[in-house]
Structures are given as structure tokens and as C-alpha cells.
């Protein structure tokens, strides 16, 4: 049982992000959500990959793995399955999650593991100084696409809808309050939660800036969007241009999580079990 004490989640290490980077707002929102939920830092684990955004775990006092590029989901999966009592949160960039790690992203969603994945989607590779990312819009000029991107961008919301995630949302660093609420609801949700965040890279993405998003974004929840309606969610997922929706696209409650179905848990949770085999007779007999 979490006690009523509210724990400090800031580690005291100062983020090294560029002034104005969207990731500051994400960090604050994560912090706010964790404190609001009154979670105990030692029962929270934050897993990240590599990128500017993936430095986030260092600025919190929880447990964490700052892993390798693209492998947030497998590390989070292994940890969650070993100890399902932990609150496991994945964080990272669009390159990390939707590029090099996109395979794991899809599989983590179809498993409906009870983890929350926050992607700081700045539509650029920040840490490697400004190459195109899988969410960079067509025609955008970057260091790696001097004549403009000629591929279609990944649509993370649509991908999540197609892959079986049970909580699918999008936030914006320019709306810190809304973002914190989305993260909090995502952590509370039992099942896989995606929080895709427009988190502008002020240094390398001169196109998808705060000013780019501000006039376009609107809240789905203020429009009474039905989050249980998969068809409506698809419509909203494909909306892009003059109007861009923020908020919760889709929620499916009561869908069994991977942990609910894992046969090994009939013996209790892995971390708390006795090691080894007390009665090997059956294994031996079978091999005779």
C-alpha cells in the first residue's frame, strides 16, 4: 500500500537540455503525475533508450535503466515480468521508439503489458544533431535530407490503435497541465499506455515549433470525443493539418493484461519465489 507521504521525485541532477527544449515540460509532467499518484520512488522504474529525451531517468529519484538506442520496450518488459509489482515507465524519443525500436513498440502493445510509454516526439534526431526522424514530415529539410524528406511519416497513434494498445493519448509540452493529466491517467490505466508528446526540439527542428502547434492543437476531451469508440479514434488519429487533436484517443478498460494471462504467475511473482527445484522427480522420470 502506498502510504500517504508524498515523496520527492526530483533527483537534484540538473537536466542538460537546451533552454526551451520541450523535454523539460515532460520531466515536470512526469514528476507531477508520480507525486499526484503518491507512488513510492523505490517501486517505480523508468527505462529509457538513447537520445536527448532518454536522459530523463537521471533527473528522477526512481530506479531506472538508461539503456541503449531503441530497446526501451524489451528492457521494460523483462523488468515488469520479473516484478509485476513495480510501476514501469518507458521514456525516450521518436527515433528511439518509432525508428530503431519500432518493432518492439508494436509487440509491447499487442501484449498489453501494464506499462506506460512516454515518447518525446520532436520529429527529429536531437542528440545526433538534427537528422530526419521517422515522424519528420514530408518535405522537411534536415541534415540528412537536404532536399526534403521523401518518406511518409509514421503515425504513432494509428500504429498504436492497430497494435492493441489499450490507452492511447497525445500531449504537448506547450500544455504542461494537460500533459501531466495524460501521464497520470496512463500510469493508472491497467494495460499498455502510450503518451505521444509533441516535445519541440528548439535547436534542430525549426519547423515543428511551439508556434507551429499552438494554433492547430485542440483537446479531444473538450470536444466530447468518445474514447471507447475505436472508429472515432481512427478518424481522430488520421486528423492532421490545420487541426491536430490532443488528449485521449482511445481507452479499452478491462482487457486482460499480459501479466493477467502469464501462466508462471500461478506460482507467485518470479522475484519472490524460492530458487531451484525442490522435487525434481517428474523431470528426472521423464528423461529416463
Amino acid at each position: 500500500m502506498p502510504d500517504e507521504e508524498v515523496y520527492e521525485f526530483k533527483s537534484g541532477i540538473k537536466p542538460m537540455w537546451c533552454p526551451g527544449c520541450g523535454d523539460y515540460a515532460v520531466l515536470n509532467a512526469v514528476h507531477k503525475a508520480l507525486t499526484n499518484l503518491k507512488l513510492e520512488p523505490w517501486r517505480v522504474a523508468i527505462i529509457s533508450g538513447i537520445g536527448c529525451s532518454s536522459n530523463l531517468p537521471h533527473f528522477l529519484t526512481a530506479f531506472g535503466v538508461h539503456g541503449i538506442h531503441g530497446r526501451v520496450m524489451p528492457i521494460a518488459t523483462g523488468l515488469k515480468l520479473a516484478n509485476p509489482e513495480l510501476t514501469v515507465i518507458g521514456t525516450g524519443g521518436d527515433g528511439d521508439g518509432y525508428g530503431i525500436g519500432v518493432g518492439h513498440f508494436i509487440h509491447a502493445m499487442r501484449r498489453n503489458l501494464d506499462i506506460t510509454y512516454i515518447v518525446m516526439d520532436n520529429q527529429i534526431y536531437g542528440l545526433t544533431t538534427g537528422q530526419a526522424s521517422p515522424t519528420s514530415l514530408k518535405e522537411m529539410k534536415t541534415k540528412s535530407t537536404p532536399e526534403g524528406v521523401i518518406e511518409n511519416p509514421v503515425n504513432p497513434i494509428a500504429l498504436a490503435l492497430a497494435s492493441g494498445a489499450t490507452y492511447i493519448s497525445r500531449g504537448f509540452s506547450g500544455d504542461p497541465k494537460g500533459l501531466a493529466e495524460l501521464i497520470e491517467a496512463g500510469i493508472k490505466h491497467k494495460g499498455f499506455s502510450l503518451v505521444d508528446v509533441f516535445s519541440p526540439c528548439v535547436t534542430y527542428n525549426k519547423y515543428n515549433t511551439y508556434d507551429y502547434f499552438r494554433p492547430k492543437v485542440y483537446s479531444l476531451q473538450k470536444e466530447n470525443h468518445d474514447t471507447k469508440d475505436m472508429g472515432a479514434a481512427w478518424k481522430k488519429a488520421l486528423e492532421w493539418g490545420e487541426k491536430i487533436p490532443l488528449g485521449i484517443f482511445y481507452v479499452a478498460e478491462g482487457v486482460p493484461t499480459y501479466e493477467d494471462l502469464e501462466p508462471a504467475y500461478r506460482q507467485g511473482m518470479p522475484l519472490k519465489q524460492k530458487l531451484g527445484i525442490t522435487d525434481p522427480r517428474e523431470l528426472i522420470e521423464e528423461a529416463m
Binding site: 535503466v65 524489451p74 509487440h107 508462471a264 522475484l271 531451484g276 528423461a287
Partner: protein, 584 residues
Amino acid sequence: MKKGEVSFRIGGAAGDGVASSAETFARTCTRSGLYVSTYSFYQSVIRGGHVWTQVRASESPVNCHGEDPDVLICLNQDTADFHAKNVTEGGAIIVDPNAVKVEKNELKKGVTLVEIPLLELSRTYSTAQIMKNTVALGAVVGLLDMDFDVFVSVVKSQFGTKKQDVIDANVGAAKAGHDFVAKGNGRLQHPARYTKVRRMLVTGNEAIAMGALASGVKFHAQYPMTPSSSILHYLAAHGPRHGVVVKQSEDELASINMAIGAGFGGVRAMTATSGGGFSLMVEGLGLAGMLEVPVVVVLAQRGGPSTGLPTKTEQGDLNLAMGAGQGDWPRAIIAPRNQQECFDMTVKAFNLADVYQTPIILMTDLVLSESYGTVNTFDFNVPINRGMMADESKPEEFKRYLVTESGVSPRAIPGQKGFQHIAGSDEHMEDGTLISDVLAGLPNSLEERVKMHDKRMRKLNGMLKDTSGPELWGPERADLTLVSWGSTQGPLREAISRVNAENRIKVNSLEYCYVFPFHTDETKNILKSASLTMAVEGNYTGQFARLLRAETSIEMNHHLHKYDGEPFEPRHIVSKIKEVMKLA
């Protein structure tokens, strides 16, 4: 045929049930009290092609599948065409004369051709094609004068109590074959005493999976790849009952990183693969080395490069295991030499992984992974050492990457109050904060980086002390010393015994199970008194000989390399010994 021993071979097309019939026979031999070693020759096809399995069974321990068959069941014409002429003198060939023709004048002396209408006899019991194999097996049980009840007991265990009709059909079909030979063709020279001493019959992969269960593995992630897949199969079938989460992952990148996540979470974690999958794991292995997370990785080798020879054996991945990952990080590489060591070394690998908080690589190859061997009943009551954990009472003093003499820092796991930390893949300081970003290269950080790198690499000293040097087998003084690693032990020892029995020269063998960290001092000590040396390994470049030379400056005098995909047979080694020692 040799006294007290039989090599049985059954061949057909993929889909004919060759491997399962061979397993039934191997278990019958095991329960009869014989020592058994098997090898399955197969191809990367599901139906058709040519496959065969050999079961060698003997009164005395056997460590390899042997050579030519004494008893051959030909389920199709190919088998007769390829193998009949190799059946040893005094042996027997079983065929259905309605389906397979054998050239009698090509057979060796005294080989009995046992013609049984297999299909016709089997029809009484079942319409299943595979039932003709059972008729043939019954005939072999008769020819070898084995106790038919032992065969029945094997069939019963295979089908369980629920499938009485299947059991009855199999027993009936086998009895028909058994009685057929009893009536007509008699029996072979009595080959062995059937003591009925109880032993286990396991593949290397099963032994590894059992070793993992005994060691308390609680998380296993794997993506299927021959010849590692049966580890996944065994653990998927048996793990959950023992609380093991077994996860078929989306790829090997996921397998290793899931295992790292679970290892970080505090449970014993493992993954298994072959060379292709291991190549994908390389970055993850370095991550585990850097995060100092214990994880056991099984690398079951097959023929390379690339997809290579998926169903064939090789020892070609030592360089890969040695060099896996950018930069230097401490690892141990263990290459069990037989099924018993597969079990024991898995236990050892888990303990080393926990004690040194780093990945441990267990290397096998297709022959060892998939071949059955008899072992004495495994003792599941194994030593378990979880290594150094942080002092629960002193969270304020905790530094995850504390620099210590041994290089090992006290560990804490998520859930432990006050021990929160970030395990980072970037270079870090004792408390886990990064020195890769703004601190990198600043005067103080140079020192910190060196301290941390030294700390990790010091683990190699401990692992060297916690593992044993190579085993010198055979006469202490010899004219030729064969040097090998892993599964080559079986055929190699048999070859040495044959050569030494001729009493012309003396040969011994220096065998490495613990491959890395390399036991340099022991190696130098032993090899300084060796007259001549020859490395025997299953790859093109002599990867082990190269490692040995790099670590000791000792150059092998001769090399025997095999990379055609088939395992070493004793005779290959015997003839090479004779060649280099100029024994015509």
C-alpha cells in the same frame, strides 16, 4: 559388429518419424542399462529430403555417435542406396521388400538382410504410416535380444496413460515385428548385457534447460533458431510450473534486452540462440557488461557464415563470442564438453553471472545441443550463489558502482527502499551519474573513467580464479597432445584410445571447457612439456588455436579443422594423427 555395443541407424525422408523412432530406441537402450549417444543428420526441410539418426548403445560409456551402423532400418530407397553398403560385418538391414530394394552384392560380409512387410503388418494396428517404423523397431528389439517389456515401458511413458489405444497399437505393431524375426531370421550375435541400471537420456539443450531450472532461472526469453530452439521448447513446457516466465520474443534484440530487464529486476535470467541471433544480441551483451547485470546467454553454434548450414554443426563462433560488443567488457565463455557438463556448467554460469554481475556465455554446437547422451541422474540440489548484495541497513552509503578490489560492487534491486539508482549504458561514476555528457574529458572525469573501466575489467581476475584450467586427459607424457574445446571431447578421446591401444605412440588430450578468461599459466605449464601439439576444432581458421596463441604465444604444430557440417568421427582424428606422426 563390436562386442557389447551396437550402432543403430534409421533413415528415411523428413516427415517419416525418423527422429522419434530413434528416440524410442535410444530410450529402450537406456532403460536396458546401456550407455547411449545419438546423432541426427537432417536438413532444413520439413518434408522430403534425406534424414537419418544414429543411436550408439554400449555396455561401457560412449561419448560420440560412432561411425558405421551395425543395424540399419531403411524407410525409403535413398537410405538403402546411401547406407546399406556401410553396414558393418555381421550386422543387419531391415527393409520392407515391397518398398525398398537392396543390392545384396554390395553388402559387407555376414550382413543379414531382414525383409519384413512392414507396411502390411502395420495395417492391422493402425493406418498411420509411421506405424511401420514401430514394426521395424520391434524387429530390432528382437534381433538384439532385448527385453520386449522394456520397449513397452518406453512406449507407455511416451504416450501417457490417456492414450491407451495408441499404446496398444504401437505395442501390437512392435510385437508383430518382434515375432516376425523370431520366427524367421533369428538374432544377431548377442551384443550386450542389459543391466537395467537407471540413467537419464538427455540432449545438451535439455541438460542446459534442466540446469537452468535447478539454478532457479525465473526468466527466459528466446527467439527460435536451430540448434538452440529445444531449450525454448523444454522451458516453455516445464518452466511455468516452476514459476519461470518463458517469453518467445519478437527477435533476439528483444531476447537479450528482456533478459537484462529481468536481471536488473533481480531474478535469474537467461536467453539462448545460435550465431545469427547472437550477432543481433551483441549490443545488448555490451549493455549488460556496462550495467553490470547478470545474464546467462547460450550460444548454440551451427554452420556459418550467415544462414549457413542451419541443421549442421560447427565451432565457428568463438571469435564472435570473444569479440561481441564494442569496447572491452568482462565476460566468461564456457564450452561444455558433453551433456553432463551442459547441466553442470549452466549451474556454474548462473553463479558466475551473479557473483561477477556480467554476462556469461555458454557455447555449445549442434551435435552437443541436439544429440542425446546418457548421464547419471542429475542432482538438482545445486549450489546457488547470488553474489554480493547491498547492506540493507545502510541505504545512505549505497553506491551502485562502488569501486572495489574485486571489481564487484554491491547490488540492489528495484523495490528496495532507499537504493534507487539509474543503471546507465553511458560511462558513469560510482553513484551512477553520467560522465559521458558535460563531464566527459574534463580532468577529473578522465580519472573517473579509468577507475570505472579498471573496476569492471578486474572481474576477469576473479573469474579466472573461480574457474579451472584445461583438463589433461590420457597419459601424462605423450608424443602428441591434441588440443580442443567443447564437444570435440567425445570423438577425440575415442580416437586417442584407439591409437594408444596400438602401442606405437602415446597421445593425450588437453581439453578446454572454460575457454575465457583464458588459463594462460596452466596452459603454458602443461604445453611446455608437450612434444608435439595439434589443435582439433570444427572451424576454418582455427579460432581456438588463435586464442591460445594470443594468450600464450604458443603455436600449435598441427591443425585439424573440420567445417563440412558433419561432426568429427573418431576415424577422422585417427587418420590425421597417423598422418602427422607418419604412422602408415
